[in-house]
Amino acid sequence: MSFYEHTIIAKQDISTPDLEKIENKYKDIITKTEGEVIKIEKWGLLSFAKKIKAYKKGFYIHYKFKGESKTLDEINKNSIIDNSLLRHLTVKYKKLDTDTEYFKEKESYEKKK
């Protein structure tokens, strides 16, 4: 068992109930294949540095989980097929730090405005 981080980018024109479905879908995949979700971060709608497939913005969802090779295969398989996603990335870590959130300050700053 080792620690992983998985981020997915959903398309901008997806409605909020569908976004929750996507979030739960990958959460279920991890738990079904003997994994364990440690934390889920929603970074919200962020604008890209460059256009990706004619989209300028996207919803970011970030998972921190414990898992095996089986879970990784299942996640990669599903996120490649998924039509509502633009990009995805998994990174392996020896230790996960769950305290620092790099994208939280921006959201609160926008809400104050």
């Binding site: 980018i9 890209f48 996207g58 970011y60 990009r87 990174v91 790099y102």
Partner: protein
């Protein structure tokens, strides 16, 4: 009698421009510590965009370590981390 505080023999730091000839190599070389190593160094991570922005040029190229004076170990980590951020469209 012992002489105290003899100024004649106190070595002063030499000015590097004070050379005898042009081809003589200067003793004090320009050197700078790596900003990413040490105790209070920032974490190099693909989510830490503020840090990564400092090490790319205006045209999104990775800056060479001879300009930024990042150590070789951290430079390798920076490049891989910048590439990850580029995949996610953050930079």
């Amino acid at each position: 009698m012992k002489r105290k505080n003899n100024k004649k023999f106190n070595k002063r730091p030499q000015n590097p421009l004070n050379k005898l000839s042009l081809f003589q190599k200067s003793d004090s070389r320009f050197s700078k510590k790596c900003p990413l190593t040490g105790k209070d160094a920032p974490v190099v991570d693909y989510k830490n965009i503020k840090l990564l922005r400092r090490y790319i040029s205006d045209t999104d190229k990775i800056m060479p370590s001879r300009i930024t004076s990042v150590s070789q170990n951290k430079q390798r980590k920076l490049t891989s981390e910048i590439k990850k951020a580029k995949i996610l469209g953050l930079i």
